[in-house]
């Protein structure tokens, strides 16, 4: 017996299994980052010598990275709508662009932020602010990296499914998209919290 509702929606819930699964996963991710932001608030409000964050971090690169991620969210949606309109080449282009933006984000993050800071001796043991900065942005960067791996799979070998089971492939891209938007949204909160406030 096949497992029902992997591709089609269950009538009374209006959901496919993977789509419901990813929403639950995101709920757990909300609690993950929620715990992290709560910890940040507790540590910062309890600190006697929290540095002025905007003096320590590079707002320009942070802002550029914010723009890059917002753009990647847009291309992600476009890749999904392209599939919906059965334009496979357009899908490849837009998911490729999304991967490119994501990699660009990581490159800027590592080469222009992490490495210069480490050279200046600003590491996790410097003070609680930097420990929190590396933890929060690092965990977010790992999420970006995970997204990149998955998207490269669907851009490359995974896209063969378009020939065999197009409906399921569209669903998969939608699920990836939901995850990707969430990761972008986390950054939208991280940027002001760490760079501006």
């Amino acid at each position: 017996m096949e497992i029902p509702f992997t591709v089609s929606e269950r009538p009374d819930t209006g959901l496919t299994n993977p789509k419901f699964g990813i929403w639950l996963f995101l709920a757990s991710e909300v609690m993950l980052f929620g715990s992290l932001f709560s910890s940040y608030i507790i540590l910062r409000t309890g600190s006697l010598d929290w540095p002025v964050q905007s003096d320590e971090l590079n707002i320009t690169i942070g802002a550029i990275n914010t723009a890059i991620l917002i753009a990647s969210s847009l291309t992600m949606v476009l890749s999904w709508t392209a599939l919906k309109e059965k334009q496979f080449k357009r899908f490849k282009l837009f998911i490729g662009l999304t991967i490119l933006f994501a990699v660009l984000f990581l490159v800027l993050k590592i080469w222009l932020e992490y490495i210069p800071k480490i050279h200046h001796g600003h590491i996790l043991s410097t003070n609680t602010f930097f420990a929190m900065y590396y933890l929060m942005t690092g965990l977010h960067a790992l999420h970006i990296l995970g997204g990149v791996v998955v998207m490269i799979f669907f851009w490359g070998p995974g896209s063969k499914m378009w020939q065999t089971n197009p409906d399921q492939f569209v669903n998969r891209i939608e699920v990836v998209g939901l995850y990707w938007h969430f990761v972008d949204l986390v950054w939208i909160f991280l940027f002001p919290t760490l760079y501006l406030l």
Partner: protein, 619 residues
């Protein structure tokens, strides 16, 4: 997948890296029961030290007992049952571990336990019992095997993810055991791992890495359970036709999904404190052995407790809710009556699940949180006791006027009612700040939560094992051996845990290496240490009857009936054991609620009406 494909599957695909929820459920069950046995043995070593402080531990006797048990299984299973014989490895493994403990100067030199090693045993007993024993048994084993059957699903919604959850859990458990063999030994900061002690104590790094694996496993499992319950219910299986066990698994999965991430963050932060020199939980100027440690400071040790208990309180409900689900199934089946107040049970379950996130800081009354916060948490704690009382009341009302069958699972279920009652009622003084300040960190707390988890959860799991064994193996466990097992276990457990409450009220602290020998106020209750140790032995000895029962039953050639308990729920609508892929030969359709016992159809009394049989019930 068709049956022809199935027969072509290799041994590895079929038994080791299987994606069938029934095989994964059995893997979870066997692994978690082994961890329960291991956690129990760690405790037996500790209890010897508490009853006879500083005396030589008879470790060789324990090693011999376990080797004999292993050999017994080898002999009884014979050549024709290689898979049964393999289980002797569990017993040889535990024997080897105890033998390993006796070697080396930093554990049991000359057979006498060192304080550091006592701490390791304490931390690992708690961790193994909670995270590697009870939760995987409740959710991984019972949930995996029974839930898809009870809702009429062919499998879990994500079979490969299911396999991944098991193997990630297995890696986590293996890492926990490996930590005993590392220099410095296993974690020794208690299962709660309070900072800053846990930040600088030896053995903690491996504990944290292993915990991260266990957490990931739970999260993957939780997603799978929720999607399966919501999406894969058979046709006609409306929400209020779900067996109550399914409801408990659903709410439990939500608790795991939403509570575990906070410990995940806590574990990552503590790990970074240890390996990267961060100071998330370390205040400035911390001194160890007379020297100021080189940390930047500025961290908050209490933050760890918040992150930990935000998980660990809902975790308590993860331990008990599936147990309540099992008890409900067994009680309704053996009273031959519908569940009294099914909607009340379901709404209480929702309420308890929601409230469990709002009570966690009652574990932290002595940290000086301030009176406003304390008042909030003691109020919510008293409110959360209401749904628990509804559960107990509903089960008692279900018994009322029923023609009770005293089968072995029912004995366990009946004993569960007062045991869970004691566990719950002893918790009330801990939920109020003034008595808690006296009782906190005493043996009273240990007695309270062991009453919840041992005669509460574990007794319920025994009920479940006796109840569903004919479903899983097609053979019924022996009733006489089962009754011996039941009486020994219940007497042993009470002899072990009731004196803890007495000692705690006398003020004896937990985690004492000598059981209170060095304290004046502990002298009048010191004799209880020996009683509790005898209790532990009684529990241990009577588990041999349980193991023997399983082995002897699996040896039997005769099979039991397909539905030996005359049960109504869907897991009995298929063969025992269910067919390998798809569970059901024909897709089940559900017509009735889960507990239609002794209902009237066409003016005639029907002793039990299975959910998939179409008949019109008259009111």
């Amino acid at each position: 997948m068709s049956t022809t494909e199935h027969s072509r599957q290799s041994f590895w695909r079929q038994y080791i890296f299987s994606v069938d929820h029934k095989v994964i459920g059995l893997q979870y069950g066997l692994t978690s029961l082994s961890f329960l046995l291991l956690g129990f043995m760690l405790m037996v070593l500790m209890r010897w030290q508490l009853a006879y402080p500083g005396e030589v531990i008879p470790w060789l006797t324990f090693v011999v007992i376990f080797i004999l048990l292993g050999l017994g299984i080898l002999l009884l299973s014979g050549k024709s049952r290689p898979y049964l014989a393999l289980n002797s490895l569990i017993f040889f493994g535990i024997a080897a571990l105890i033998w390993y403990f006796s070697t080396g100067e930093e554990r049991l030199p000359g057979g006498i336990m060192l304080p550091e090693f006592y701490n390791q045993l304490g931390a690992m007993h708690g961790t193994i019992m909670v995270f590697l024993g009870v939760v995987p048994l409740a959710v991984g084993a019972f949930g995996n095997y029974i839930l898809p059957l009870q809702i009429g699903a062919p499998d879990m919604a994500f079979p490969r993810l299911n396999m991944a959850s098991y193997w990630v859990y297995f890696i986590g458990g293996t890492l926990m055991i490996i930590s005993f063999f590392l220099p410095g030994g296993a974690a020794q900061s208690g299962w709660t791992s309070y900072s800053p002690l846990a930040d600088i104590n030896t053995g903690q790094t491996m504990w944290l890495v292993a915990m991260l694996f266990i957490i990931v496993s739970s999260l993957l499992g939780a997603i799978n359970f929720i999607v399966t319950t919501v999406q894969l219910r058979a046709e006609g299986m409306t929400w209020f036709r779900l067996p109550f066990f399914v409801w408990t698994q659903l709410i439990t999965a939500f608790l795991l999904l939403l509570a575990f991430p906070s410990l995940q963050i806590g574990a990552i932060m503590q790990l970074l404190d240890r390996v990267a020199g961060a100071s998330f939980f370390i205040p400035a100027g911390i001194i160890q052995g007379g020297k100021v440690l080189e940390y930047s400071g500025g961290g908050n040790p209490l933050l760890w407790q918040h992150l930990f208990w935000f998980l660990a309180h809902p975790e308590v409900y993860v331990l008990i809710l599936p147990a309540i689900g099992i008890i409900t199934e067994v009680v309704t089946n053996n009273t031959r009556k519908p569940l009294w107040g099914y909607p009340a049970m379901v709404y209480s379950l929702f309420f308890i699940g929601f409230m469990s996130f709002l009570v966690y800081a009652h574990h932290m009354f002595i940290t000086g949180m301030g009176t406003a916060v304390t008042t909030w948490f003691q109020t919510t704690t008293l409110i959360i006791s209401i749904p628990s009382i509804i559960f107990l009341a509903v089960i008692v009302f279900t018994l009322w006027g029923g023609s009770i069958r005293f089968t072995t699972p029912m004995l366990f279920a009946l004993a569960w009612v007062p045991m869970f009652g004691i566990g719950g009622l002893t918790g009330l003084p801990l939920g109020l700040a003034p008595p808690d300040i006296h009782l906190h960190d005493t043996y009273y707390v240990i007695g309270h939560f062991h009453y919840i988890v041992a005669p509460g959860s574990i007794i319920a799991f025994f009920a479940g094992i006796y109840y569903w064994f004919p479903k899983i193996c097609g053979k019924k466990l022996n009733d006489n051996l089962g009754k011996v097992h039941f009486w020994g276990t219940i007497i042993g457990m009470n002899l072990t845990f009731a004196p803890m409450l007495v000692q705690g009220m006398a003020g004896v602290s937990r985690r004492l290496y000598d059981g209170g020998l060095g304290y004046d106020h502990a002298q009048p209750v010191l004799f209880l240490n020996e009683w509790m140790t005898w209790g532990a032995w009684i529990i241990g000895i009577f588990q041999i009857f349980f193991i023997l029962n399983i082995v002897l039953t699996l040896r039997k050639k005769s099979r039991s009936e397909e539905n030996p308990w005359d049960a109504t729920t869907l897991e009995w609508a298929t063969t025992s054991p269910p067919i390998a892929h798809g569970n059901f030969i024909t897709e089940p359709f559900v017509y009735h609620g889960p507990y239609e016992y002794n209902v009237s159809v066409n003016g005639q009394n029907v002793p039990y009406l299975p959910q998939h049989k179409k008949m019109d019930i008259e009111d």
